[in-house]
Subunit: 469 residues, 2 copies
Amino acid sequence: MPKSVLTPQAEDFPRWYQDVVAKAELADNGPVRGTMVIRPYGYSIWERMQADMDRRIKEAGARNAYFPLFIPESYLTREAEHVEGFSPELAVVTHAGGKELEEPVIVRPTSETVIGEFMAKWTQSYRDLPLLLNQWANVVRWELRPRIFLRTSEFLWQEGHTAHATEEGARRYAKRIHEDVYAAFMRDLLAMPVVLGRKTARERFAGATNTLALEAMMRDGKALQMGTSHELGQNFARAFDISYLSEHGRQELCWTTSWGSSTRMIGGLIMCHGDDFGLRVPPRLAPVQALVMVVKAGEGVEAAARQVVSDLLARGVRAELDARVDTPFGRRAVDAELKGIPVRVEVGPRDLAEGAVTVVRRIAGGKTSVPLGGVADVVAGSLDDDHEALYAAALAHRDARTTTVATIDEAAEATRTGWALMPWASLGPEGEASLAETGVTVRCLTLPDGSVPQAEDDPDVIAVIGRAY
Amino acid sequence: MPKSVLTPQAEDFPRWYQDVVAKAELADNGPVRGTMVIRPYGYSIWERMQADMDRRIKEAGARNAYFPLFIPESYLTREAEHVEGFSPELAVVTHAGGKELEEPVIVRPTSETVIGEFMAKWTQSYRDLPLLLNQWANVVRWELRPRIFLRTSEFLWQEGHTAHATEEGARRYAKRIHEDVYAAFMRDLLAMPVVLGRKTARERFAGATNTLALEAMMRDGKALQMGTSHELGQNFARAFDISYLSEHGRQELCWTTSWGSSTRMIGGLIMCHGDDFGLRVPPRLAPVQALVMVVKAGEGVEAAARQVVSDLLARGVRAELDARVDTPFGRRAVDAELKGIPVRVEVGPRDLAEGAVTVVRRIAGGKTSVPLGGVADVVAGSLDDDHEALYAAALAHRDARTTTVATIDEAAEATRTGWALMPWASLGPEGEASLAETGVTVRCLTLPDGSVPQAEDDPDVIAVIGRAY
Ligand SMILES: [Zn+2]
Ligand SMILES: [Zn+2]
């Protein structure tokens, strides 16, 4: 393998992360502090995430809509006399149309309030339920310590909001999004093992009666929350008067849910699968699964490479040609490593003279000489294996860095390098509060078989404890 | 046909438009003046537009990226001492992070300036060219007289920006977007005839050396600009220092293009194809092509309707079941008309007893009894015809409302109800200026065979003159 151009993970993980983001051409800092430019390669990964997630959300019955970027100040701040009194995460538009606005306008930090208002209009009768809405949009939360993809002042996300006639209906739907949409997406597309659990009261979303979360371990042993799905009880419906006329002619309050996932997942992907040579993109997600490289110019070399691309495309592999022979081959190979393209097929005059090409695998590692006619089969097989291999490696890493503990001190110790598992009955809210003082949190509560507890006080409940991004 | 619930077009066209937008559940006004909520049905139309346009843009070689919502004030306003001095279309964030910003931030009215800055970074060598970028995003231009989809303070759009080594390369690409992407999209997906032409110097985009436009006629005889593609010469490259090192080792300025289309096209779609019963959605665009309706409950009726849906899906028709028998059938039928769903298949107990269903066509009009086994063929055939019929009707309407004229007075008269065609050599910039005083503009310059003139002074050039949205 070529020498890495990145800071090694073991030396300085945050620096390694920054290096990958820059050198794999994923993103760049925008001119306004805390904002990001998602570069074409990074955006092509996001587009594939979005398309797959969107399909799953639609299969769960939700429909997309679009709500405005601007929210009246009065929706978010009841008392502030001057804009300095607003929550620091809010960006406030005070001037537009060439003059000062009578009422300042907030750039949405979420569309919750506007969506709530319209859900109230749209749920008139039991026939309108369930109302299942989703939105893909940019949102703004001013960040003082920004970090690309993980914490940016502007990010892209989807937020779902649903209204149901019964508590049971809302509960089932929040669970469906948690498991059938988010967990399945992370496992099957991102090749990321996630722990499914519920949040403790301390970590729960304000206004939620239950927050379901998905937590993934990064290469440095820290946790990243990859998505959440909230049961909101009737709290949200009461605040926005989301009610309906029942079949029995009574006006009833709805039960609602909300759920979201964002460009943060790209950060999770990088930190879960990346290594000292760059990103490693799971093959089902990869915009380019196989890069067919002309090593150097020569009689029939480019034609052979084109033929390989055709064979791969015909086999359903997303293949792309790299015939930029005026750029040194080594630089192009390093670039493909950095970008984490799962397979490189190197086509050069010497190999070709023997009717062969070289297949280089980014994920499993290794180079093999493959006869021209067999390339498509070898590559397609590698991609299948690579998905499993990446998932298994991430799981093994998580297991190796996870310790079952009995005391708070042991938990504090274990979370220096990974996660601690401790019975929630032993830890409890007080132990949780004491760990929180050192930045260690209960990521979620789960059951020994990996399922989600119905309630906190089930005696089998295990707290997954760690430091988090 | 059921009685219309809309203001008739002939009575009050703007009112008709508002009625359709509201009653077909396309969109609603947002809480901040000038903003809009795109409702699920309206958004499903936009999503299909976006997916098809995106595919065509990618086929033309451009790659998507994402640039920040916020732009430093200094990028857009060099002199303004206070934010009141900014252009009235700009929305200005003055507070964020809980305090007043040192430098106000503009909510992007376009991403041109930021994209320009990054294009300058990314075009180092001739190997980086052409650089073909596109972005899908929301933009904000404060509107004092907003109108949903047509003029809103926030709208969704795509903006493309490309850099080329030669003038010829830039020109060819602007033309490719104009014809192979925009015109083909409008003709083949939206079933809208558009006139392709170049703008006069007066109507040209500031900074462009040539603006290519697509103009469509609405049902009231007015014009709507559906998209533009600009050649920017080296003006933009000079302003942002977008240059590259040539093969000969010289630093050269690039030649750039930009091009855009937006949610405005939804307004165009409504006003081009809509009638007194609502929207008519071209079948290739329609999210639901055939709505299979259970007329009323009855032995085996719903099962039969489900079977029809399956048959249609198997035939590649986007079909949906409407089994909401607790809502009056008449209301559901009116709703389907309003939404412009191309075909309704009505499944009722009486017809079913004779092994038949009723196929109702929204675009061609008419009801037919069709034997159960033949529904899929009849519907699929109707959809093919409907695309052509819609296109032909729009073209016939445009032709009927277009008058060839010889004088400015005749042009003024003709543009009360439609378009005037007049030799540009006779009209000239002075005639253009005089018409502009009464709100009549040269929409574009075109040639008798429908092609785009290379230059204004070609003696065959025809001015397409009209009132515009
Ligand atoms: Zn002021
Ligand atoms: Zn202030």
